[in-house]
């Protein structure tokens, strides 16, 4: 082996090494790239007009509305990320409707479960009337387990969004109990209604005859939030109660009315209902 050969071998090894190192580097970079891609944040979905007339204008316009504007296009079609974000938000809403509240969550708050006559999710969606009436078994269970004629009856229901309960119950429920205490109110035996509609309050009102009833129920999911909850309240709910007799705090979720705040507020509303012997449009808040 002469000097030239050695030189060649060294060069070859060096090239080989370099390629390996650069390949390894590249792999590392790719991994980081992948990791980034699997943790999408709002920024990753953000598309924008490439050459706007007023470059600072796009942000200015976006700041004043949650509408999906300034998203740009390919031809007349939206960009891929814009479409995927829309599909993702819709998917979350669809899953919220078809989902179920985990038993473990209900156990945490000592809530037992009864059902309405909804049968299954399809019937629930097609026949709102069935979600307003509890099954015979449910009536029996409630009569056995619950304190009759309580001052405040708390009821939780999945309604149109199981994920609204999953997302908010841990925050709203303790805050609600605190606010009852602060307002000097006592509650009966709380429970969970599977497949409930708002007016199931009336049937429960007939069975337990509470002075006031508060129903925490999942709202029809929107794309902004699939986890929005409402608190419907009524003074002496009974069969034939009309919608205008109910008081509602809606849009309860982390991006709307914060659940802790809502819980703290509900106690005050319930106290005023009892004081004024009224709810809904006749209640002065």
């Amino acid at each position: 082996m002469n000097q030239v050969d050695i030189q060649r071998i060294v060069e070859k090894v060096m090239v080989e090494l370099e390629t390996r190192v650069s390949r390894q580097l590249k792999e590392n970079i790719d991994e980081k790239e992948c990791e980034k891609k699997f943790h999408y944040t709002t920024f990753d979905w953000l598309t924008s007009v490439p050459n706007p007339k007023f470059p600072e204008g796009i942000d200015e316009l976006r700041k004043v509305t949650p509408a999906r504007i300034g998203v740009w296009r390919t031809g007349t079609r939206p960009l891929t990320k814009t479409i995927l974000k829309l599909q993702l938000d819709h998917a979350a809403a669809v899953d919220a409707v078809s989902g179920e509240v985990l038993d473990s969550l209900l156990e945490e708050f000592g809530l037992f479960t009864v059902e309405t006559c909804y049968e299954n999710k399809e019937v629930y969606l097609k026949r709102p009337d069935k979600g307003r009436v509890l099954t015979e078994e449910a009536v029996k269970t409630i009569q056995e387990k619950c304190v009759k004629k309580p001052q405040v009856q708390i009821v939780v229901s999945d309604g149109l969004s199981a994920s609204a309960i999953e997302a908010n119950l841990r925050d709203i429920y303790p805050a609600l109990l605190d606010s009852l205490k602060v307002n000097g109110l006592t509650q009966g035996t709380p429970f969970f209604v599977k497949g409930g509609r708002v007016a199931c309050m009336d049937h429960i009102g007939e069975i337990l005859q509470p002075e006031v009833l508060v129903l925490l129920i999942g709202e029809r999911p929107g794309l902004v939030s699939a986890n929005s909850m409402s608190a419907y309240m009524c003074y002496r709910p009974r069969k034939g109660t009309v919608e205008s007799d109910r008081t509602v705090v809606s849009n309860i979720h982390s991006g709307g009315t914060p659940p802790v705040e809502a819980g703290a507020y509900i106690g005050t509303v319930l106290r005023k209902m009892i004081e004024q012997k009224a709810s809904g449009v006749r209640l002065e808040l």
Binding site: V49, N51, P52, K53, F54, P55, G57, I58, E60, L61, R62, V64, T65, P66, A67, R68, I69, G70, V71, W72, R73, G75, T76, R77, P78, T82, L86, Q87, D89, H90, A93, V94, A96, V97, L125, K126, R127, P128, D129, L160, R220, P221, G222, L223, V224, A226
Partner: protein, 453 residues
């Protein structure tokens, strides 16, 4: 009136027109909720056989809701031209279908016979038409209307810009209007659904949109879709409204639930003609949708398609600029899935057009329906083929105030390109002047909302 039929060895006996009409419908969850639907697939077709053999006189002589009991029925009855009715009264519903689809029958002939038709007759023929029947028959009918600008011409597809905002923030509404305009949408109307139903707030939105139209010289019309009484107060306080809006139901009781009556609409009509800001003569924007009567418990056991037709009978009285069926908004208890929404969209569009109305459709769905954006894209293509006057456009289809999805500005632009449709003529000229459109195509400037800053 014949109410019995034997098919494949089985005899079906119907109690009367109401039952025949209900059972002849395509499957709809709303008819099931009302408990008036066909019990099985064959009973549905049996009802359709019986219905197709009834004469137009049978339908008129057996009112589903007698005029003595309901003012919508009275409005429909008063609208009938007796001479034209007499000339077609012995036609069967089947003959009416075949007449509408016959190649010799054009917009002229249809415009003539519609004056002899009641809403119930139009509902009846719709029930025995297939989807493609509904598309072909509707595509023959042209209904042009004029407010500040004219829409509805053949080869034109207008769009409503629906720039709603969750708390009526004026700058926020404006931002979404800019986005709509930059995609060439807003020629039908710039129409805002307000959250706050007060005269002050409605007036503020009316005046903001009007100023915007004046500043940029936009040839269109404005409207704030509050309750009609709120709009009336806003107008009396100086609000600048081109169009008055109201949702309609197909029964007097249903309208009562909406807080309106024929008397109130007549009064509003007088006001907008006197104090509206548009050239006219068409100054109303109505919305409808199958199922609203049942949801107000005001359906009298009548099926939702027939009640929808009756909304159009009422709308006709006011020569509206635009009528929009918000087809998938009401929810799965009335239209369960995309198949039902697509069918209802085609039915409503056809029925409105046969009434002589400037029909548009809010191609839409809620998140608890078995439908998605692909279904809406499909229905939109079908409706443009059927000659729909206008479609609703929302930024990326997501209405951040009403929490449902419609079509996007992109979709309307795509439908125009794909199916060779143009915006309303005056609006198209404006788009060209703004550099947004050229020879019917969006330019590279389109899609930039900062054009209007």
């Amino acid at each position: 009136m014949k109410t019995t039929i034997t098919l494949m060895g089985k005899t079906y006996q119907f109690k009367g027109l109401k039952e025949i009409m209900a059972k002849a419908n395509e499957e709809k969850s709303g008819d099931q909720l009302a408990g008036i639907h066909a019990q099985d697939a064959q009973e549905r077709i049996a009802a359709r056989h019986v219905l197709s053999d009834l004469t137009l006189a049978d339908i008129r002589n057996n009112p589903l809701l007698p005029p003595e009991e309901d003012e919508v029925s009275r409005v429909i009855e008063e609208g009938v031209n007796e001479k034209i009715y007499a000339s077609i009264r012995n036609w069967t519903v089947a003959e009416l279908r075949e007449y509408l689809l016959s190649p010799n029958v054009t917009n002229n002939e249809i415009s003539h016979i519609r004056r002899g038709l009641t809403s119930e007759m139009i509902a009846a023929v719709t029930k025995i038409m297939t989807n493609l029947d509904l598309i072909q028959a509707a595509s023959k009918i042209t209904v042009e209307t004029r407010c500040n600008t004219t829409i509805g011409q053949k080869g034109r597809l207008a769009g409503r810009a629906q720039p709603n905002h969750p708390n009526d923030h004026l700058q926020g509404i404006k931002a979404a209007i800019f986005e709509a305009l930059s995609y060439g949408v807003g020629d039908a109307v710039i129409g805002i659904n307000p959250v706050i139903d007060t005269a002050d707030s409605v007036k503020a939105i009316l005046n903001m949109t009007k100023e915007l139209m004046e500043k940029w010289g936009i040839p269109t019309q404005n409207c704030v879709l509050a309750h009609v009484t709120t709009q009336m107060r806003a107008i009396k306080q100086g609000g600048t409204a081109d169009l008055l809006f109201q949702s309609l139901a197909g029964t007097e009781l249903g309208n009562k639930a909406f807080g309106i009556s024929v008397e109130l609409l007549d009064e509003a009509n007088e006001l907008i003609l006197k104090e509206g800001t548009a050239a006219g003569p068409n100054v109303w924007y109505f919305e409808t949708g199958q199922g609203s009567e049942l949801s107000a418990d005001a359906h009298h056991g009548i099926d939702q398609l027939t009640l929808e037709a009756r909304c159009y009978g009422l709308a006709k009285r006011y020569n509206p600029f635009m009528v929009n069926t918000v087809v998938g908004f009401i929810g799965p208890e009335y239209l369960y899935n995309s198949k039902q929404v697509i069918r209802a969209g085609l039915e409503d569009h056809f029925m409105g057009k046969l009434h002589g109305l400037p029909m548009g459709v809010d191609v839409c769905y809620t998140n608890h329906m078995k439908a998605d954006q692909n279904d809406m894209e499909n229905l939109a293509v079908l409706l443009v083929a059927a000659g729909v006057n206008f479609l609703i456009g929302v930024a990326m289809a997501d209405d951040c105030m009403l929490n449902y999805q419609s079509l996007s500005f992109h979709d309307i632009a795509t439908l125009r390109e794909l199916l060779h449709m143009r915006p309303a003529p005056e609006f198209e000229r404006w788009l060209e002047k703004m550099g947004i459109m050229e020879n019917g195509k969006l330019t590279s400037m389109a899609g930039d909302p900062t054009l209007f800053l």
